[in-house]
């Protein structure tokens, strides 16, 4: 199930909250964790944003650095949990 505007919402949020250099641009595939834009501590607040926004709970074992490493991967994860919610 594809959620309308999901990727742009995540991309805008990451750009606004985590990107320090205004001149840098992110794409859906930009490496967020391995690229050093979001660290493991900051991942907690990104996870919290997604949970609040989409009324889901992402278990810690699913919130891995790999699953959060790009907007595309995050979108896949969120869609999975939104679908489970029914």
């Amino acid at each position: 199930m594809a959620l309308e505007g999901l990727k742009d919402i995540v991309l805008n949020y990451v750009t606004k909250e985590y990107l320090e250099d205004d001149s840098e641009t992110l794409t859906y595939d930009s490496p967020l964790i391995s690229g050093g834009i979001v660290d493991s501590f900051s991942m907690v607040s990104l996870k919290r944003f997604l949970e609040n926004k989409y009324a889901i709970q992402i278990p810690d074992d699913k919130a891995t650095p790999e699953a959060f490493d790009s907007v595309n991967k995050i979108a896949t994860l969120v869609e999975e949990f939104v679908a489970k919610k029914g």
């Binding site: 909250e17 320090e20 250099d21 205004d22 001149s23 840098e24 490496p31 964790i33 391995s34 690229g35 050093g36 979001v38 660290d39 493991s40 501590f41 900051s42 907690v44 607040s45 919290r48 944003f49 949970e51 609040n52 650095p65 790999e66 490493d69």
Partner: protein, 567 residues
Amino acid sequence: MSNIGSYNERVKNFSWQIAEKDLGYKPGDVINIGWYCTDRICQQGKGSKVALYWEGFTGNEKTYTYNDIRLATNTVGAFLRGLGLKDGERVCLFMDRIPELYLGFLGVLKIGAIAQPLFSAFGDESLFVRLSNAETSAVITQKKHAPKVRKILDKLPHIRHIIIVDHDGVSPLKDREVGFSLEKAAPVEHLDIHPTKAESPSVLHYTSGTTGMPKGVQHVHYSLISQYLTAKWALDLKDDDIYWCTADPGWVTGTSYGIIAPFALGVTQCVLDAGFSAEAWYKWIQKRRVTMWYSAPTAIRSLMKAGDEIVKRFDLTTLRHLASVGEPLNSEAVVWSQKVFGKPFYDTYWQTETGCIVISNYPGMEVRAGSMGKPFPGITGTVLDPVKNEPYTTHGKIGLVGLKFDWPSRMRTYWNNEEAFQKKFRNGWYITGDRSKLDADGYFWFAGRDDDIINTAGHLVSPFEVESALLEHPAVAESAVVSKPDSINLEVVKAFVALKPGFTASKDLDLDIMNFIRKKLSPLAMPQEIEFVPALPKTRSGKIMRRILHAKEWGEEIGDTSTLEND
């Protein structure tokens, strides 16, 4: 055969002159860490040996020989001198783990200035208190981090220069900014190294305090002596090693053992400037054929979480020695590393103030899983009765870790805060702030902190600093910050928050406060959980009783509540 050989023999016959002799240093000589890490190695005929393999997150790579780093550090030093920076001035390095951080650090030392490395994830408030306390003269940074410096620049009159190492040469520079490109600058073959002596200040690392703002731990060039020897004996670094220290030089491990000691030993080291993932790390070890790996319990536990199967996909057989630092290494991690890597992680214990490893497990000595190990030869450590401030006469009792403060890399003072420095001593012993017990064979066993400082992923966070920042959030009336147990990071920050009238607890407010602290202080200081409470437990005199909240989080006895208000 390990470098240390027999631990007991080393203890019996120890003198720091062993390191002085190795390094060709005699008391009274000039001793400059920058020179020892570069020029001296070249003079030994190792100029063409690889000093640093570096890889960034996009996969771009750089390789530097010892002659390359000699020239690069000369070039940085000459550039800084050209700006008018002089010995004794504080020069902050505020960068990701890019080569300029490592080379800049040594370049600063070469001109006799004091290197002040700060973690690049620090927010503007964390940056401000440290730069203002040190009255820093210059900041070396990257384009991406410059906005944080600009934001606070008006309040920092001491800063004369902001050096941007990746400036494109085209974009307009702002107030006090200057562009510098190590790649484009003409290499400086000869630099007059500042003739620093043993007690000349070298490095200023900031560390968190329980009740005050961060303190600048001041080290001297003579620290090299014990950083060199501990790396040789405790980390067992050898000439043909490929060494990987995973620490960021924003913290002391990343400078003592990520720059100074390995380069002074002429070892090849490698740096991976990328976020953590088990796959990326194992791939790096395989690619660089890492032989000695110095990491931290949080990373080791994260690797454990990633599982055993992934390890089998990589050739990690080059690893010959593993060590850990930052927080107590749990016995499960030691057992796990033995299982998957065929060798245990050796725990090492030290802190920003000690400047070098002071208690450790050593190659060739039995590793007792979960133990901190034994004092480094030449260092006297004990467990003190917290009431009498005297060493316990029987084993097994938990007390304060005390050290005789007499090794070369001990801090000399807290910057502009001699009073706080003096408070670290009781009855002639330096008090580390950690609690431990000793077993009958002299091994130390960590038992926790003796104060409210939070150790998250090996980094110390001051509850006071987080509480002060929380008060600046428009919704927060008062707060109390404590540690909360965490299976990966050992501890994480938890905040209890009472809101101002007109504000209501909500998930959005919770996230807003988290992000507020993350940006103001750092991701490490961000509360991973916020509990909204109507009021905080206080004494009758109005002091917030953090220990009650701490006990609740850790499932401990609350203890005496006789002074609790409204009890």
